[in-house]
Chain length 335, copies 4
């Protein structure tokens, strides 16, 4: 089976499995797991932050950040299609009692004009924006890396608010653009990344920020139930992921581009411009996603849908060139 549903399906490598089996562990509740500590330090350095926290999922990383930065009733700006608004079952409303005000992000980039407008409106109303969320890469827009200029502009628009980067796929962005993770992260107050997606680890995400932020996040993680004991077994795989799996993301990007070309060939450039595919996610509109996906599944290719009328295909380490070729054949005859 060619599984293009998501890069979350990646399975641990042999190296990761060995690392898990041999991990030196301790009780992370007592800050005594050396492998967790190593992973957190490694990530903190990668993103240029003072400290980091290992958590069981990207959703928890976002939810912990939200709880750490906000009080109930705070205003949060985020892209309308970002994970934190659409794919966390409204956790921010439930766990933090905040109101996310969405701004347009159709092509992945937040509308800076809308951000400014909303900033002024809520300032005027006496409810100054508390957090701005950016997603890098932006998944539903097709894995789009955020522009550094946009990020700087957002930072300067919001000197007082906290900026949180949902960098679940930050390393895809970095590999695609050549911009260092820390170069992105220097413009935000908190950043999270997943090791369980393109990087191939089985479980886990990292949240980075200042020492004080991470100390507070530690408590919020406990409240949400995310404190794990000998988490070093997972962290060991995460370290392999962070240390040796980043560069190979370029392969996934190359393959996604190939898929995009096949889709453009089949449905036209107006449906999908292959040049717009910079990382590992291919999203395109289709009149009947279900028919398309059923057709693919008959060729043992699995894809997904990311919104009504949209198909999503995601490349990752467990999909090789031969699989992509088979997929392209299937696409060429798809309805």
């Amino acid at each position: 089976v060619v599984d293009l549903r998501s890069d979350t399906v990646t399975k641990p490598t042999i190296e990761m499995r060995e690392a898990m089996a041999n991990a030196v562990v301790g009780d992370d509740r007592y800050h005594e797991d050396p492998t967790v500590a190593e992973l957190e330090a490694y990530y903190a350095e990668l993103v240029g932050k003072e400290a980091a926290l290992f958590v069981p999922s990207g959703t928890m990383a976002n939810q912990v950040a939200m709880r750490t930065w906000t009080s109930p009733g705070d205003v949060v700006l985020a892209g309308a299609r970002q994970h934190v608004l659409q794919y966390e079952r409204m956790g921010s409303a439930i766990n933090s009692g905040v109101q996310i005000v969405p701004v347009r992000d159709d092509r992945g980039t937040l509308s800076v004009r809308e951000l400014e407008e909303q900033r002024d409106i809520f300032q005027f109303l006496g409810l100054p924006v508390k957090v701005v969320c950016v997603e890098n890469t932006h998944m539903p827009a097709g894995g789009v890396p955020i522009g550094l200029e946009v990020l700087k502009e957002i930072r300067s628009l919001f000197p007082e608010a906290k900026i949180h980067m949902d960098g679940a796929r930050l390393f895809n962005a970095s590999v695609a653009t050549g911009i260092e993770p820390s170069e992105y992260a220097q413009h935000v107050d908190s950043v999270m990344s997943c090791v369980s997606k393109g990087l191939g680890a089985p479980v886990g995400s990292l949240l980075g920020g200042s020492k004080e932020f991470i100390e507070n996040a530690w408590k919020e993680r406990a409240i949400l139930g995310g404190q794990m004991r000998q988490a070093g077994v997972l962290a060991a795989a995460g370290l392999v992921a962070l240390q040796s799996m980043r560069d190979r993301l370029a392969e996934d990007h190359r393959r996604a581009r190939k898929l995009a070309k096949a889709i453009a060939a089949r449905y036209g450039l107006e449906v999908l411009d292959p040049d717009s595919v910079q990382t590992n996610i291919v999203v395109f509109s289709h009149p009947d996603p279900e028919a398309f996906l059923t057709h693919l599944s008959q060729a043992d290719v699995l894809g997904g849908s990311v919104a009504p009328g949209y198909v999503r295909l995601v490349t990752h380490k467990d999909v090789d060139d031969e699989m992509i070729d088979r997929t392209i054949v299937a696409i060429s005859k798809a309805p």
Copy 2:
């Protein structure tokens, strides 16, 4: 002073004061205040609902409705500029833990296309929309009554969701359009109206709906601290307001139109089309609202601002023709 800041500033009439002084009261906690009961029944009949509840404010009416219809994490659609999102200090996030997803409502009418789009998105995400809020009249858009056709369309788009009408100024809408309050309300599941705005009562709002809804709302009102004891003293004024102050709203509308003409004369039709002013609220863009308002205040005229770059003037029973004329003179020389 000509106070055009809001119709909330209306002071009780002599008739209301007498009604308060002579009100037959009881303890409403025990359902024993006959004047409250009379007011609730009177309003329920006006809006064609089975039952109603008297509460201390419009904000509480909206918050009680939200708590009654939702559970934490529910998705609520509302106009981006509606009271429930912009003027209740994010009470819905705090008190109910819901996520309000705003749709465009620049001219007061919700974008039906956007409502449908959001409905489909959240349905797709497994988070079907729970409540749709409409505001009638829509304040920040300039007191615009909702169109009956739009309302019907929304109803048919959301057969499962609850539709709540923030009808703080429902009677202004009704007087302006000739559409009965019950004709509006038959398309929604809950409706609230204020007696303390244009109708001139000192305090209070009413929330109408089915018997079951009101029984549940009764408990939510208690939780928010809105249960009042001998509330009949306020209800007595509310009855006068509902029974004898509705028709005169036409006066306020006529005067608002006069103001609108003066503004158009001063700044041009592209700033404000007087024909767009259907009720008692005049909103127009101005490069420097503060300068405009300061100028007016020197003529003892008070106005307000409803958003950055927007001036708002509101007519009501304590502003007469002479006051309007004075205001018009001031406007004619305004910066």
Copy 3:
């Protein structure tokens, strides 16, 4: 009918009705209602606090205090039978997300030993107690005023926590003990009192504290929907209540003692020691409260029940000596 169910049933006096009819009012949202301002200042002085806030109910006063002092997850200590825990439909959990840890208060006085024990436990757990609630008079224990010594002890046990006094019946306590309201209130950070109970006003409560506390409470009141417009009509009655109805509470206390004697005569001193009745509330255990209350109701006397197996009778201004005598006759033959 002799209504001994609660002192909340008191109806406004003629003086109050006149005051309401003649009240000078303004829009309290703009801080422009002079009568509200006068009432708030009067109460603040009575309790020796910098500022005060008028709210629609005692429940709201407590809920606003809770929201103002706490963040979700905070630990609050309160008597097991206090209003804030038992009679506000768990508003504190819903509105503030706090955990109230109850301590024994069978006879009205909080167990200081238990307060200290809980303080140490939650300190040990890294969750230092944030608020301690005291109730004065303590209703379910039979209207018991808090001892000044106990209050001082609590203060010294909790130098860091906020102490909130639910003084719904603070003036009953003061009249019974001769201790000034401000003498009680100097040992607490916030205090609330109702004008709608023994003092006879139709609606409303006051919350007192520091200027900063009241500024924050103002916002929390708005979130809960408790901001009223021309609230001066209610405040006018509240002023009459505070200024002229406090001394007469002694009458209610005298009559409650008479009732207590009748109960002791009928059921024995072990059921109720009349000397324990210091204010206007008579609570006693009865094997079948319903039978007792049904018997009373046949003599047109209404009472209530405050817990399983307990009867409650409350005296107030609308119950005179003759009514008490009729009640005593009924009690003498009660089952």
Copy 4:
């Protein structure tokens, strides 16, 4: 070092490490991880429930159960010293908005009389108890298994409420008493157990209940951020724990008894009756826990404190007889 601080410090066995390295995994978000499915089915059968859910921690298992069973404002009864009240940073108040009403549990067993009393009080108040939590074994009382008779009594007292068993150490209880896990669990609606404590797995807990309960719990787990991807790597260790590590808990219990005897020998039977130690937790009062623990640490023995004035020592698989003997020597000379 002899680490008696907690049985959470247990490190994975070689067998577990191999199982992790060789685990067949899939994406549990798509219900496709066979090892997770196997673990969940295995646990469900052990506790005689229809279904089960794997989560990252015992705290999350409790929090998910709470969110699944309750709505904000619900009343929950639990022992005053239970984990759900004292060791989850008030997660229940934050995540679920419930009010936990504690009942006495000094010796581990909930006071059935108090449970009944509280049931009647909240029934009377119109707030019927929604959930009753029991802890088995009860940690702060010294690892006390719950009596089956007590459990049946609680069940019959609360036919309508949900009963949740925090069985973090359910298998210790079972091994100590010979009562099957399913025999305990048949009297409760939901049950959770940890594989990361005495059973030695690195991470994880299981929550069991009806199919419908687990379907809802699945969503609540996602909201809290507890959904993990290739969680099979952890589940593999969990399976080893559940399948092969239960019987050896008897060793831990034997060693705890030995420790208890040493403590009784040193401080007297009134401080600790060794016969009361049935499982792996030894709790005793000490005038100066810090002095005691410092003394132990000088002999490379680590212990902890569970409440002010109480020492706790916990045995587990990484503490052998020789270590216990060394500890006993240290205890014999302890202050």
